[in-house]
Amino acid sequence: MSAVLDDHGHAHDHHGGYGGIMRWITTTNHKDIGTLYLWFSFVMFMVGGVMALVIRAELFEPGLQFVNPDFFNQMTTMHGLIMVFGAIMPAFVGFANWQIPMMIGAPDMAFARLNNWSFWILPFAASLLVLSFFMPGGAPGVGWTMYAPLTVQMGMGMDLTIFAVHLLGMSSIMGSINILTTILNMRAPGMTLMRMPMFVWTWLITAYLLVATMPVLAGAVTMTLADRHFGTSFFNAAGGGDPVLYQHIFWFFGHPEVYIIALPAFGVVSQVIPAFSRKPLFGYASMVSATTGIAILSFIVWAHHMYTVGMPVTGQLFFMYATALIAVPTGVKVFNWVATMWKGSLSFETPMLFAIGFLFLFTMGGFSGLVLSLAAVDIQLHDTYYVVAHFHYVMVAGALFAAFAGVYFWLPKWIGRMYDETLGQWHFWLTMIFFNVTFFVQHFAGLAGMPRRIPDYPLMFETWNKISSIGAFGFGLSQLLFLYIVLKAIRSGERAPQRPWEGADSIDWTMLPTPAPYHTFETPPLIK
């Protein structure tokens, strides 16, 4: 046992054997790795954001202005892939890295070296994606869903994208195995499953979803690769295969993926709302079962993405009912958040603003999802801007707003300094307003029949698109303010008090100093 103790006796505030850049490359510390995830995610958010602005600039007016249609398609594809796999997912893994060990009383993640690898695959995978722009034929313009048979016909960039998806999948699977193991095996004595903070619960379920679905996506893109280069016929009808098969396999991954993105966001909001309502989370047990219910249902609803592809009516009905059923556990969550605020002693600092913004807008995104779940309605709306509006209400107003709430909420714990509250409020209101300017009007464009993934459109859609493009540029520029706020907090923010949020009562706030030291809970605390 003495050998074990030696490793840790002098561990406070030293960063192992490496300094400078090598510290970050070789680190096994969950806080370092969490920081890496968050910065990487922010860089990808900017890259994907610039692509979105290219799209919106082109769509400002009918006709072709800035880019050719092929490049436009490359932009929509890469915007989707980079935002989903490069920005949103790593952001929440970053939160998980920072917070889960501190919230359950663990010294670090269960597999600290694997944790490093999970992160350091990401920049290489992102490089593959970006490199595809420089291949003959450019990046693939197939849409982030990468449907066959178009993927089978693309150039070299498609192969790089396929391998990038493989690497991203490996990273996610390793990260998730780590998170699952940490939560299941590293909790401090007394930290029973039903005492865990809600954020930890949502990540437990999310990580399970990732382990179960990411390999299926890997299989799907492997089949694409084989159809492209090895002469197989998975997606080729002449050989007895079926392009629709790709869609089934993809969405078997793709729908749980929606909850992979949404559940950690629910988790963050479930920490923030009680803290600023100064009340415990309403209906904790029902929150846990709702999260589990959403996860189970997410496996049996995938074909609601495919109503128009040709499916027996029985199939459409099954997927329609199953999809509508998800509204029940989601509704439980929304009502629980509202009930948490009910008669609470509310205050509206920036994290709370983003959480409430999330609550409003995500609920709207949920409702438009309910509209789309109806097969008869979806046939009209499939592949229109209504769908684009719907999923941006879920992805941006859902996941991104929750991520902002999380950063503002936990930044004092991480760096020991406060952000500028006035600027934070500005950031919220600019984001909130420009988000709605950008995406709310897209509902109308979609209902009027404007198809998505198209660089040109008839004159009748011009007004909606002009408004949307103006909103998008405002939204994008507002995010530079976020960067400034974070940098300012790091460089010259006010010293944070031990508990800047009096209502926050998870053990990372109550049992650890602020800022959290480099190593925390080396000896497990006893949770009473």
């Binding site: 046992m1 050998a3 510290r23 070789t26 192969d159 195995i177 299989g219 497990p524």
Partner: protein, 289 residues
């Protein structure tokens, strides 16, 4: 103290390893291999060099990384808590492997139950593929050459016996390890590897037979695609399993593992049984029915 740390002492400190350069090496290796493969698939030059370079880095990284883990394990740094972490980790990893195969079995199911019957349905028969019949195995309506499907009761049946026996010998080896009978352990572990290698030999023979005599190829429509991709990925996993068993055998011969502390052995055994179960499913739905 280190000798008994595993089972008796209540543990205070979880082993958090020191910073190390292996993960970044692994990432660079994967990057080089992905880039190389892209070049090879598109007939650009230099691809193989990149793949070979990446693979060598990957091998070196695995030697060093696993070496560190083995040293730590033998040095008594892993207690009950770490052991349980490895158990959870391996279980979830196997679930992810199950789901990978699930996707390919799903493709086979889709071809047999949905796409081939659909292509021979009334509509398609009249409009697109006159005369195409819904008979499995099928290479689809656009495939003109004749081929013979792979039968179940020749080599595949022998392979089933081989893999099932290897599961039994592996369990005997485990009993040897648990009961401190190292001779039994080494013998049966060696037998397991021999059975696995024989399986792979037969599999290679079967592929040769398919290509040269049955005219059954990867390009033989959806039947060839699913047949070779499913059995191929399974064979790849058997190869990995056999390499892992070999590493375990070398470790056993060097006196590693204790009767109550040998999760590396168990993890590989779990993996081997998983590969075994996948084979049984393959045998039933790919070869037999």
């Amino acid at each position: 103290m280190a000798q008994t740390a595993y089972s008796s002492t209540p543990q205070q400190h979880y082993h958090v390893p020191q910073p190390m350069p292996w993960p970044i090496m692994g990432s660079a290796a994967l990057f080089l291999m992905a880039l190389g493969a892209t070049f090879v698939f598109n007939d650009s030059s230099g691809g193989w060099i990149s793949i070979a370079f990446g693979f060598m880095i990957l091998l070196y990284m695995m030697f060093r990384w696993f070496g560190d883990v083995i040293r730590e394990s033998e040095g008594g740094k892993y207690g009950a808590r770490e052991d349980l972490s490895f158990r959870w980790g391996m279980s979830w990893f196997i679930l992810s492997e199950v789901m990978f195969f699930f996707g390919f079995f799903g493709a086979l199911f889709w071809a047999r139950v949905m796409s081939v019957p659909d292509l021979s349905s009334l509509l398609h028969n009249e409009m697109l593929w006159p005369g195409f019949k819904d008979l499995w195995p099928s290479a689809g309506p656009g495939f003109a050459e004749k081929f013979t499907p792979m039968g179940a009761w020749g080599v595949p049946a022998i392979n089933t016996l081989l893999l099932l026996s290897s599961g039994i010998t592996l369990t005997y080896a485990h009993w040897g390890l648990v009961n401190n009978q190292r001779g039994k352990l080494n013998l049966f572990l060696f037998l397991t590897i021999v059975l696995g290698a024989t399986f792979l030999g037969f599999q290679i023979y079967e592929y040769g037979h398919a290509y040269s005599e049955l005219n059954l190829k990867l390009t033989t429509g959806v039947y060839g695609s699913t047949f070779f991709m499913l059995t191929g990925f399974h064979g790849f996993h058997v190869s990995l399993g056999a390499i892992m068993l070999t590493v375990i055998l070398i470790r056993c011969l060097s006196g590693h593992f204790k009767s109550d502390h040998h999760f590396a052995f168990e993890a590989v055994a779990w993996y081997w049984h998983f590969v075994d179960v996948v084979w049984l499913l393959l045998f039933v739905v790919v070869y037999w029915l």
